[in-house]
Symmetry: C2
Subunit: 537 residues, 2 copies
């Protein structure tokens, strides 16, 4: 077991925003090292620019067990923080892409409740959960806040599978006991059972991962209409009864019909957000999904409670819910991350959520919920720009920030995930765009499907390369994924030509290259015990 | 050369709409045959359900040279009409994904004109054009209406490459001579040179493909502001001087600033559409890209001239242009197809355009340009629906119709492309979703990147499978592409286990399977001369 893993190459992340500045990519080249025992970044040195300097670094630190993993410049590879999916329904994954022309409330009845209900079968649950974990890891999601179903056994299975596969996760057993808005075939027997069943899953998860290294429970009232006031109150009290208080997740203000329904059901509360607040569910550890149609008062209330918002643009477009005014939420002091909302959202990819967040923010100016002054269409003539115009637009960099550091703050791990600072966990993806396209032949032309579909032509800056990744990239670009320092996903293809027999494990192709270069270069490697292979958790 | 190619398996297309009905998938299983010499469908028989019946069909028709290509049920394979991209800028492909937070007019200046200008280098043009043809074919685009640049040589090169690679295409040399709205480094010297240079490319294309089997020229004034009135008039006259009149393509009403600019430049014309009409550019063979902000009068004018519209939703969102009210255009009698608008659009995939067309139509209700009555938000309560509500929403089926038959009508090949009727060209893609996911292992879990990322679980109807393809599919699902009966793209992967040495050519894996089965089954194959290998054009 190598006590140190050394990463050498190009590191791209989105630094914390300095006041008055706009988000920009941080691109560093150098070395960074991770403790194998804690999975945290122990240090970095961006001045390390050559093999010789890398050797010096190893010698100076007296590292004897060191594994080295590199990005290759000619393959346009870089390390990027793992994505954080702040809102995803694991049991709904098999329905991805099935929603027809429905909107929220009929979608729940037609597509969602029947599928969720079927997770009473552990074999069905296992298939769905293994698949969704595979797909999210393959798309670079290192941490996900999952809604499960009402079933204790299936919820516990999801927790176990995430733990085994090494994905960081919040796992929520769904609570829904209101007979008026839950189908008879799929609901909790009572408010009491909502709470007691939730407690069973909390206990299971705390036994599975006593130090909460990877998996944590999260209290999950589905949304206000599906929960009785008694259940809402009990769940709020349950969260508060733990030290520190438990995490909470639910939905808010996704669709105008849903908002009207909540108004009619909770007439004693001045707003949808106020319903959750009344039952102690609006806390600094609460994740509110959607927040499309909030009033100004609700935004103030949410900000004052330090509750967080999961922006799910793919879902909001797919179900015709609307466009969440993200800039306005941020301006009002609310912390925002991105969610796929599978399967209201059709894709398990947070990169797709990044794209959709950018796209819908560019349509906001044409909507009725557009941001205040200056956003009334782009009626400018050439060269003229009104003050504030376009302010609602999210840049690629901002959307990537939401997908990484934003998400980290939403899952209450601000400062621990989402960047390359000392002390942060190594929850990271290795992205490969592939070699530059040349006149003679292109990857596309070869008929090979193992290649990236991001076309780099060789003249692009790193910022341009990252933009191309965002707009054209997919799971084929995600070559390695680590969580807490451990390799949890890898793909090997034509480009990994250093893989040889005798070198076992997912990182071997990178290692072999190092080993050959170091040996053939005559470097004394006696001091380096190269430990090959992926680390077992 | 096999005179007949026989296709056996599952065929999915979007039939022409019967009055008062909604668009539905047509799913047929059976046999269909294509003439190798004409590339057209000669017949089909949906009653052919077994190998024995297939053999009878071959015997009864007295076919001796017959190539058989099958879809495999267990791999969830089906034939689907090739996609038609009604608006794409070939030279802009290298900029895919690069647009930052710009809108149309600054995007042209910052990103587009410099790149287009660089196509004066034929080596740069060759790289860009080979790549865009590869990527569009790989995504199932069998026909594209391309904007090239102002350069005659590079435009002719694009025509030659499409012809050689076998992609059906309209090729337009871009005309832009107005010094006020074209950069000095990238414009035609005069209105005269706009026309004469265009004539050079028309002549080249007519020499290259005298019968217009694959490639046709298209008159291409960039858009009203970049062309002098003299140029517009000459180009209109040029189109009309041919018999039949030449095709025309341009942009219209993409962005509100552009609309304001056109109003100020052409004050003698009552509208943007009226500008093109005044110069004889609004014809039944005209493709108008975007049409986001048309007035009611403009829609009537366009409909009365039978001009067509290319809807480019990915581009319109990316550049913040707005949402084209497609339902309203269709209701007013305008023919609509889909375009990628690379690189205002970030993706060369018409499947992505299908997705985006669906998504933005679901946001229309929240915009200021929403469709009349009933579209004022979904303020319904559970179970209630207002008349007309949701009418602006495009179903998956409708968007697929726009991508196939709609596009066929837009490129003036209505009835010749887009479906499986006798007499239509075999411009088709073979889609593979892959084997159903099982509890034990999933494609996603294997770390293989050669697999589809569409997860089928085995319980889905064909409609559901096609929906999953639309929402999750990509180029990995496009296993074979034919244009005019000839194979123009193929990928071979883990699933194609019938490929063996001695069987040469892209279709060999399918052939081998047939050959083995027929031989081993003891069927007299003496009458069948199996011609292996892809057909040379």
């Amino acid at each position: 077991m190598a006590p140190i893993t050394l990463f050498f190459g190009t590191f791209v992340d989105l630094p914390r925003l300095k006041s008055g500045r706009k988000h920009e990519l941080s691109v560093n080249r150098g070395a960074l090292w991770v403790s194998a025992s804690t999975g945290r970044i122990e240090g970095f040195d961006w001045s390390v620019a050559s093999e010789a300097e890398l050797q010096s670094l190893v010698r100076e630190n007296g590292w004897v067990d060191v594994q080295i993993i590199r990005t290759r410049e000619y393959q346009n590879e870089f390390f990027f923080p793992g994505f954080i999916d702040t809102h995803i329904h694991a049991p709904q994954y098999p329905n991805s892409g099935l929603f027809g022309s429905s909107t929220l409330l009929d979608w729940l009845e037609t597509y969602t409740f029947p599928l969720e209900s079927s997770m009473s079968s552990l074999s069905k649950a296992r298939t769905a959960y293994n698949t969704v974990i595979s797909r999210t890891l393959a798309n670079g999601t290192t941490c996900a806040s999952y809604f499960a179903t009402i079933h204790v056994a299936a919820t516990n299975l999801l927790a176990m599978l995430c733990h085994t596969r090494g994905q960081r996760a919040l796992i929520g057993r769904v609570c829904m006991d209101n007979p008026s808005y839950c189908p008879e075939y799929y609901r909790d027997d009572s408010a009491q059972s909502s709470t007691s069943a939730t407690e069973e899953t909390i206990s299971h998860i705390h036994t599975l991962d006593p130090e909460s290294n990877l998996i944590k429970p999260i209290i999950t009232p589905r949304f206000a209409p599906t929960c009785s006031p008694t259940a809402l109150a009990s769940l709020g009290a349950l969260a508060a009864s733990h030290t520190p208080p438990l995490h909470i997740q639910t939905h808010i203000s996704e669709n105008t019909s849903e908002c009207a329904l909540v108004r009619s059901l909770f007439q004693e509360c001045p707003s949808y957000a106020a319903v959750y607040d009344a039952y102690s569910l609006l806390t600094p550890r609460t994740i509110l999904a959607h927040a499309v149609h909030l009033t100004g008062e609700e935004k103030e209330l949410i900000a004052s409670r330090k509750a967080k918002v999961s922006h799910c643009p793919a879902s909001n477009s797919a179900l015709g819910s609307g466009i969440a005014p993200v800039r306005d939420l941020i301006d009002k002091g609310i912390t925002v991350g991105l969610g796929t909302d599978v399967s209201g959202g059709y894709s398990p990819s947070i990169l797709e959520a990044v794209r959709q967040a950018c796209l819908v923010s560019r349509l906001l100016r044409h909507t009725t919920s557009k941001l205040g002054e200056g956003a009334d269409g782009d009626e400018k003539t050439k060269g003229e720009k009104k003050d504030g115009e376009g302010r609602e637009v999210l840049s690629v960099e901002e959307a990537l920030y939401l997908a990484t550091r934003g998400g980290a703050a939403v899952v209450d791990m601000n400062g621990e995930l989402g960047g390359f600072e000392v002390g942060m966990f190594w929850d990271v993806q290795l992205i490969r765009l592939g070699q530059a396209t040349t006149a003679a032949g292109t990857a596309a032309g070869s008929g090979s499907e193992t290649q990236s579909v991001v076309d780099v032509f060789g003249w692009e800056s790193w910022t341009e390369k990252v933009h191309k990744w965002v707009w054209s990239g997919d799971d084929r670009n995600v070559r390695r994924v680590w969580v807490r320092g451990a390799l949890v996903h890898s793909i090997d293809g034509d480009g990994d030509q250093y893989s040889e027999k005798g070198l076992i494990g997912p990182a071997a192709d990178f290692m072999r290259k190092d080993w050959m270069r170091w040996t053939m270069g005559g470097v004394g490697i006696g001091a380096l015990a190269l430990f090959l292979g992926g680390r077992a958790r």
